[in-house]
């Protein structure tokens, strides 16, 4: 021993688990350290986004079935409650949502509620389990913020841009929120509009700079002291975002983005399934990207209610061959969580189909399988999609610059299910009329009104909605909800998401 006495302190955040104490005790160091808890639950990432920053949430709850994070969620609700007063109405769907709500109510009842005298500022709270809508989380993102996230990874509201973006030999870390004037204007836009916008802005900027040519000394002085800084700032931001766009485009072209989107849309709409399956198979063969290949397979599985056993076996084998045999464990995890399953024997038309397919060529057999499958199977996603009108009817070109509905976040092909549910429930102020949809989503819906809060539609708080995604949400969903907010005149849609995490990476082996 060095002769120095040391004090050790462990700070657990957001919560200390009993299991941790057990480990300390078992290792014989319990008495040597002091433990403390820093109950940090909510991180505001932007003026309308709050995150709980719990990347483990998805895996722990949905894969392992561990309820350890329900308490933090309940406490976060408690915190919001005490800060912003009682919630007008609380809606929810999903087992986790229900449990979080119940635990929160329990905690509220026991404690002397501090929010009691406070004026209610949040009119509606919506709790939703991630597994209510896996489809949206699996679709490729095409709004700017989503693409930035997919390409560079946005962590805690900031992103690292490398030399290829900054056009210098340095990388920089940039805070991406509404403070960034350029970003705030393009973040929710479909990518196709972004380039046009940025080039327009560049031209304007150039024009502003050029003004200084005709200036006299006094004007120049004013210009330098007042405007130049702002222009320089804007110039810097513009060049960053243009650089980011270029990087995104380069990467996406390399990965056949266009074709991927086409395959996804086909899966969402429910046609050309065999072609999409072949596309996925080739994607795997070419070793394009392990995550992307899995994502596509899961999308196929969810929209089609499981893969045809033959496809499941063959794609699995090819995946293991292309990306590594240890992914046997990945497949097992995905099966457990329901993201990548195979149809059980009874669900596929076997006898007739195999007889017929023996008589025809491969291509035709594929088409027959398609037809048979859509007859025999009932796919929840398809049924839900139909009921809620998630695939917009296309009459003419879909205007991405002036979109008419939330489908623009996916190029007009698909309205995110999660957002649609929120929209409908808010409109109806409950679940009336949505019974069939709820049944298809496996129930667990609830709707509770706080009697102490007056239900006055004119009330300011009525326009504030808090959407809580348990398990994370995507930037596409955020963009869609912002759009919804603008449409309905609701102010600042807040989101408490256990950090946005694309489910698939969380399920890697080990």
């Amino acid at each position: 021993m060095s002769g120095r006495s040391r004090k050790y302190k462990i700070i657990f955040s957001p919560q200390k688990f009993y299991a941790c104490e057990m480990v300390l005790e078992e290792e014989g160091v319990f008495g040597d350290v002091t433990c403390d808890e820093w109950s940090f639950y909510l991180l505001p990432l932007d003026e309308d986004i709050i995150s709980m920053e719990l990347p483990e949430f998805f895996r722990d709850y949905f894969l392992e079935g561990d309820h350890r994070w329900i308490n933090p969620v309940a406490r976060a609700l408690q915190l919001l409650n005490s800060l912003y007063g009682p919630f007008g109405k609380t809606y929810g769907i999903g087992r986790c949502a229900k449990m979080s709500y119940e635990l929160w109510r329990d905690l509220e009842e026991e404690s002397e509620s501090e929010g009691q005298g406070r004026k209610p500022e949040i009119g509606h709270v919506f709790l939703m389990d991630r597994d209510t809508d896996y489809v949206t989380a699996l679709c490729s993102q095409v709004v700017y913020e989503g693409l930035v996230d997919d390409t560079f990874r946005i962590k805690c509201g900031s992103v690292d841009f490398g030399p290829d973006v900054t056009s210098s030999d340095k990388s920089i870390k940039v805070l991406l929120n509404s403070q960034d004037k350029v970003f705030s204007q393009i973040r929710n836009e479909h990518f196709s509009s972004v380039f046009g916008f940025l080039s327009q802005k560049s031209r304007n900027l150039q024009a502003q700079y050029d003004r200084r040519r005709g200036m006299d000394i006094k004007q120049m002085k004013d210009f330098v002291s007042q405007e130049l800084k702002g222009l320089k700032q804007e110039h810097r931001l513009l060049s960053l975002h243009i650089g980011a766009c270029e990087s995104i485009m380069k990467k996406k072209t390399k990965q056949d983005f266009q074709e991927t989107i086409k395959a996804e849309h086909a899966l969402l709409e429910g046609f050309d399934i065999r072609e999409s399956t072949s596309f996925i198979e080739e994607h795997i063969d070419r070793q394009v990207s392990p995550i992307e290949s899995l994502r596509l397979m899961c999308l196929l599985s969810i929209t089609e209610n499981g893969l045809v056993p033959k496809d499941y076996r063959s794609l699995k084998t090819q995946y293991l061959q292309s990306y590594g045999p240890e992914h046997l464990l990945t497949f097992h995890n995905l099966k457990r969580i329901g993201l990548l399953t195979e149809q059980s024997a009874g669900e596929t038309l076997t006898a007739v189909e195999s007889k017929v397919s023996k008589l025809v060529t491969d291509r035709a057999a594929g088409k027959i399988t398609d037809a048979f499958n859509s007859l025999a199977r009932k796919s929840n996603f398809r049924a839900i999609s139909k009921k809620l009108g998630l695939i917009p009817r296309l009459d003419g070109e879909y205007d991405l610059k002036m979109p008419r509905d939330m489908a623009y976040v996916f190029g007009g092909a698909y309205v995110p299910l999660s957002c649609k549910i929120i929209e409908q429930v808010l409109e109806r102020r409950g679940w009336q009329g949505l019974e069939e949809v709820v049944r298809l989503l496996n129930g667990n819906e609830f709707c509770v009104s706080d009697s102490t809060v007056e239900d006055n539609p004119a009330c300011e708080s009525q326009r504030v909605v808090l959407a809580v995604f348990l398990g994370g949400c995507t930037f596409s969903e955020i963009a869609a909800l912002r759009f919804l907010g603008k449409e309905r005149g609701t102010r600042g849609l807040g989101r408490v998401g256990s950090r946005r995490e694309r489910g698939v990476p969380a399920l890697q082996p080990g």
Binding site: Y18, T34, D60, D66, W69, D285, Q287, P325, L328, G510
Partner: protein, 491 residues
Amino acid sequence: MSRVRADEEEYWHSSKFRAFTFDDEDDELSQLKESKRAVNSLRDIVDDDDDDLERVSWSGEPVGSISWSIKETASGSTSSLDGRDSSLQKGSSSYAALPKQASSYSLSSLFKGRNKLPSFQSLSDALTDTGVKSYAPELRRPKAEYKDYSSDWSPKDTVRRMQRGKVCSLERFRSLQDKLVLLDEAVAGHDGNVITAVLIFLKRTLRREILFRELEVRQVALCHLIHFLREMGEQKFLLDLLRFLDRTEEVALSQYREHLNIQDVEKRREFLKGCIGLPFSAEDTSHIQDHYTLLERQIIIEANDRHLETAGQSELFRKYPRKASILNMPLVTTLFYSCFYHYTEAEGMFSSPTNLKKTFKIPDKQYVLTALAARAKLRAWGDVDALLTTKNWLGYTKKKAPIGFHRVVEILQRNNAPVQVLQEYVRLVEDVETRLNLATKYKCHDVVIETYRDLKDRIQLTAYKCKVERGSAEEEKIHSILSNVQIRWKN
């Protein structure tokens, strides 16, 4: 007992006072409790020497004797416990002090020494049952002395307190019934942290078979235990649990998962060999088998190639030094490597591509795709050609690609194939539009010209003239086609 109140943090968080909840009501009372407990704990240490020390209760009965215990249970059952659950009525389960009983006098001396509690319990239980209560005079000790202040809570309340972060001693839940009620309350409370804490306690105090049996019908709790065991790395316990539940496939997978922790390649290979016999499903067994075989081959290839590389004799290895080892790489990557460095080897060699193809039953499509990529990287256009040419039984050669020629073109272009080579394959792209796109993009003029001619599209062909070099052979070609009167132009 004196305590230094000044350093409160230290005080409350040091292990001695762990189980004490300080924010409850009466401080004076709690001080008393604390003192009592400290003294009692001292007693436990001293009590090891059974023969010398005998504890005697107020009534003169030696503590731990049968008569003493009768009294305790009598007072325990008659005193009202303020709404505590009736499980406390079950007698000796509520007193933590009992296990250390021993006395040299009275009947209890028969039970002296390291007797297990059960026999003692059953005896006292039996005695209580036969209405022995009447033998014991009432005791007038203050209730507070019996009860451990902080452990007065019912299972529901205990769970509640734990949800709010308070440390609660679960030791008093000794009967199986109590434990299960506690567990069920924890599950109903939805807080996974508490559920796991209760499970830790149950794991410590129950024989595993009993624990397993009870968890079998409690799915939520079961998930928590499994997750806990995984996180703690208690592999053996986990496997026993899974075996008990008859989840044989998971047993196999859990064991297989361990291979990821083995860094040494030889050891990993051995381990994988052992995994083959595990109760996987039929398909998975073949995957495991393949995993083992692949690693086995990779070890051989790696050793060989490392040797070749260092010997410096092979030109190929000198020109294209290896960037990484082939160990633990996926099969397709291994195939690529093999097509790159060992393309011409005979099938008998482990490192030859054909051997890999045969051993792992790699489909043609995958094989051609990978071999193509490898040969293209080496700019071996002849090999590329050979891969895509098949001879039919009449001896005619035909170009065929199981992957679509547009992919072939893409791969070649990525490796900067010369235009003449590219052109040949662009020509074979089936879809006309794609063909045109690619041809225009990569300046395969002949293909463009031919395609427009086939489409009989005069306008486009004329327009294309400006794309070719003045005075070149291509320009000539366009001219001659345009002036061909036999062609029936579309426009």
